[in-house]
């Protein structure tokens, strides 16, 4: 693995452009900027083409099938006919450049091919050359270029330097969404077995075992036992979650990242404590134990194959509706793909909160509610007893995850919750939050180890905004509603803004939650001492 430079060096980003045009500048594979190629067994598990042992270094033999060019062009043709977005986005870009400095990977790397417009142009040039009259006749003059092995490798390198965060699409006057182009580009690459190991592994795991980490049912159970022990230590209350229980009212699906590893587990403990306090009739599933969907970073079909389990399990268990945990791309999938892929979920009922009676009209077709919506509704109705002073040791800011911000729009629910469970909340600058939020730099399956420099660079704009509130207000806690954030941001903070921790919103909810029959709390969920109480307890 490449040695990661120091922050002072890394933040000197060189935006100088190469002398030669981008078409004449061959791609260079920089260590620390790309992932390992997918191992064959992962591809075999899900019957993907061209499984083989290969190295993703540029100069190695990628062991492509003889007719790879034909496969790519046919794959493009098929997708031009299947996705209006793809054909339209190939056709109408005017290269105004408004997207250029909106991408965190461009801002963090200075590599012009990370400008969304050029990332799109990598494939648009091939589209023009092979699928348009002007490009066939005029070639380079019309922006067309030959599909060569170098071009293909360039696609692979740059389509795995995009986190599908859609920030460019907010600023594009035609709404051209590079995420969509990246997704389709990756689909085409997968026709040749060109995935990354870090994506293909979780996909295979998720397919066979129900979650990215490949946790088997009994392991999930024992992880929960550990969390229950910690909860008991903090509160004196024993939570007893159930798994695969038929007849429960609600199926709860969270990203499996929350089952394993800090700080995700704290968020998971938050769910457990909240549901216990409410006496919610709900169940977890070990089969549908993953809300996240690395399939969607691979191909639409793979996304659908993994997502299938959620409705299938809801049907098998006979629940009334589904509640979903804090996860970014899971909610992009739930909000924009699930119903279309695997619906209609006519065997479920329109979700109604058993505590407040609120009918979630906005989820009446998918029958799946976001936990931030659920909890915000509880707080609004005064159903939770909260002691925000228990979070007084925290100065908190909120990072909108790219997917929930721009593929859903869940912005105010988590903020409402946070403002009710803690006293010190500070927003980052407005250009870096809500629909303009920056990605953590590790989304869409980029959170591997071998591409660490890319992740740190891509996360630079986010970290920079955190640093601003860290220095200005002393912010020491970066909250979010995304498992990839919880996995990736601690690394990012350690590197760029030491002294800032990362937490899911429901960890802080549980910190503040006054539970019936709990012992006096002296620790937060991290088993760290609570701040000294000043005066009477503020309930």
């Amino acid at each position: 693995m490449a040695k990661t430079p120091k922050p002072e060096e890394l933040s000197k980003i060189d935006y100088k452009l190469p002398e030669k045009g981008w078409m004449d500048t061959p791609v260079e594979f920089k260590e620390g900027m790309y992932c390992h190629g997918a191992r064959p067994q992962y591809l075999e598990t899900v019957d993907f083409p061209n499984p083989r042992q290969w190295s993703s270094k540029k100069d190695e033999d990628w062991k492509l099938p003889e007719n790879w060019k034909e496969i790519v062009l046919n794959g493009m043709k098929e997708r031009l006919e299947k996705y209006r977005s793809f054909r339209l986005f190939m056709d109408i870009c005017v290269r105004c450049g408004a997207c250029a400095d909106k991408c965190q990977f461009f801002l963090g790397t200075g590599d012009p091919k990370n400008m969304p417009v050029l990332r799109a142009e990598l494939i648009r040039s091939v589209y023009k050359r092979y699928f348009t009259a002007s490009g066939k006749m005029l070639g380079k003059l019309a922006g067309g270029r030959e599909l060569t092995l170098d071009v293909l490798k360039e696609w692979w390198y740059y389509f795995y330097q995009c986190s599908e965060c859609r920030r460019c699409s907010v600023f594009c006057p035609y709404g051209i969404d590079q995420a969509e182009i990246t997704m389709i580009g990756r689909e085409i690459l997968n026709l040749l077995g060109l995935n990354t190991d870090w994506i293909a592994g979780p996909v295979a795991n998720s397919y066979m075992r129900g979650n990215h980490l490949g946790l088997e049912p009994h392991t999930i159970k024992s992880n929960f036992d550990f969390m229950a022990e910690d909860i008991e230590e903090v509160t004196g209350i024993k939570v007893e979650p159930t798994f695969n229980r038929k007849g429960a009212e609600i199926l709860f699906v969270a990203p499996s990242g929350d089952f394993f590893g800090d700080p995700g587990t704290y968020t998971c403990m938050g769910y457990l404590m909240l549901f216990h306090e409410l006496g919610l009739d709900y169940t977890w599933s070990t089969y549908a134990s993953e809300g996240g969907n690395f399939g969607s970073f691979t191909s639409m079909e793979m996304g659908k194959r993994l997502n299938y389990k959620i409705y299938a399990e809801a049907k098998r268990l006979g629940v009334k509706w589904i509640l979903g945990g804090e996860c970014g791309h899971m909610w992009r999938v739930v909000n924009q793909y699930m119903d279309t892929w695997n619906g209609p979920a006519d065997f479920l009922e329109v979700p109604v909160s058993p505590i407040t009676g609120t009918r979630f009209e906005n989820a009446k077709s998918t029958k799946m509610v976001h936990i931030a919506e659920f909890t915000a509704d509880l707080i609004k109705h005064g159903k939770l007893k909260l002691d925000p002073s228990r979070n007084d040791h925290l100065k908190v800011t909120f990072h909108d995850s790219c997917n929930t911000a721009r593929g859903m729009g869940i912005l105010d629910e988590p903020r409402y919750i946070l403002k009710n469970v803690l006293n010190h909340f500070y927003e980052m600058p407005e250009e870096t939050i809500r629909e303009k939020t920056f990605c953590c730099g590790s989304g869409s399956g980029l959170n591997a180890a071998e591409n660490m420099e890319l992740r740190l660079r891509g996360g630079f704009p986010r970290a920079n905004a955190v640093k601003y509130v860290h220095q200005k207000y002393g912010v020491n806690m970066l909250t979010n509603i995304c498992a990839i954030d919880r996995a990736a941001l601690p690394t990012l903070m350690n590197y760029w803004v030491p002294g800032v921790d990362v937490a899911g919103v429901h960890e802080l909810v549980a910190n503040a939650l006054v539970m019936k029959g709990e012992k006096e709390r002296t620790q937060d969920l991290r088993l760290e001492p609570l701040p000294e109480k000043v005066g009477a307890e503020n309930v």
């Binding site: 977005s85 109408i92 098998r316 619906g343 919506e373």
Partner: protein, 354 residues
């Protein structure tokens, strides 16, 4: 490179028209045949391209949400930036098409001492709005040459456009704004490094072409003084399908018409199709109501899945031991090996080390 090429092409186009009319006397080619071909190509081409887009479905509801979603009744929804109803979508599209709302958000980022700052950057929006609106008004004003009697709204438009009453014939502001805006758009392609880096010949060509069209139009109106009655006789001849070439209309007019014809012909083959495409963009013209209303994908097809039964087959024993309920009470062992093998192959990816 692309810029120089495009510039030369436009100059050549001007020369072709000049030589064709002034030297070869091919008025009827440049005044009748080419305009007809151009209009036909434009109409057929644009319709063809739009239908081609239309033939590819929108399989998924991929609205880009630019604000708060509709959720709980007491949370204020951003109805225009994250619409959940048709009305909201229409509002969003109107703002997008008429006012370039997304472009209005534009910011400029700057890295200073390891800190990223973001500033407002509205010039692109200003130039784009000025360019498109003045182009549109200029186009509408030209209806005076294509309709008898001249519709009253065109007269109103002219009076507004010339309200400053500068010079005779009075100066139309839109003509000047168009030329200034297109010049700005061209200059930023030269001088903003990132924009220069991404610009292709097909970006420069329409700018030079439109610049030439606006310039010849202005020259013709204010400086060379073509015989406007003669011009209208020609244009009316075209639209009433009784084409004539009146005597005494200056060559500059034919150059102008030839450049406009070139633009019409070029249009459907180029990025200029964004005019139609902006209406079809699925990230903008769809409501974010996909949890309320199911969006159908015409090519949705059954896929191979890993069913619960297959899952339980593999883990039944472990589930029983962990006290997790199972469906079946029988343990068919003959399947055991096959699945075990698959899972072991799949392995567990290594979590990043801290």
């Amino acid at each position: 490179m692309g810029a120089l090429f495009s510039f030369v092409v436009v100059i050549l186009l001007i020369l072709v028209a000049y030589v064709g009319v002034a030297a070869a006397g091919l008025q009827s080619i440049f005044g009748i045949v080419i305009p007809y071909v151009a209009v036909l190509t434009f109409i057929v081409g644009v319709v063809y391209r739009v239908i081609k887009w239309g033939r590819s479905p929108v399989p998924f509801p991929i609205a880009t949400t630019g604000g708060q979603q509709k959720s709980l009744p007491w949370i204020k929804q951003a109805k225009l930036d994250n619409p959940s109803s048709t009305t909201g979508v229409i509002g969003r599209m109107v703002l997008e098409v008429l006012l370039f709302r997304s472009l209005f958000r534009n910011t400029k980022s700057e890295l200073r001492d390891g800190k990223l700052g973001y500033g407002s950057a509205k010039w692109l929006w200003v130039a784009a709005i000025a360019f498109h609106w003045s182009f549109w008004i200029v186009l509408l004003r030209h209806i005076r040459l294509f309709a008898t009697p001249v519709p009253s709204f065109v007269n109103v438009l002219e009076n507004l456009d010339g309200f400053l009453q500068i010079g005779v014939p009075r100066l139309f502001l839109t003509g000047v704004i168009l030329l200034l805006a297109v010049t700005y758009l061209l200059l930023r392609r030269f001088y903003v490094p990132q924009v220069r880096y991404i610009s292709l010949a097909s970006d420069y060509f329409p700018l030079f072409l439109i610049m030439a069209i606006a310039s010849t139009g202005i020259l013709m109106r204010y400086f060379f003084r073509v015989d406007i009655v003669g011009v209208k006789e020609l244009t009316m001849g075209l639209v009433s399908f009784n084409p004539v070439i009146p005597a005494g209309v200056g060559t500059i007019f034919y150059i102008h018409v030839f450049l406009v014809s070139t633009l019409f012909i070029y249009f459907p083959f180029s990025k200029l199709m964004h005019m139609g495409g902006v209406f079809l963009s699925p990230t903008r013209n769809l409501a974010n109501n996909s949890r309320m209303v199911r969006h159908a994908n015409p090519w949705n097809y059954p896929v191979k899945v890993h069913t619960y039964d297959e899952y339980e087959e593999e883990f039944r024993e472990k589930m029983i031991n962990a006290g997790i309920p199972i469906e079946s009470t029988v343990l068919p062992e003959e399947f055991e090996e096959e699945f075990k093998e698959k899972v072991e192959d799949a392995g567990t990816p290594v979590r990043e080390e801290e």
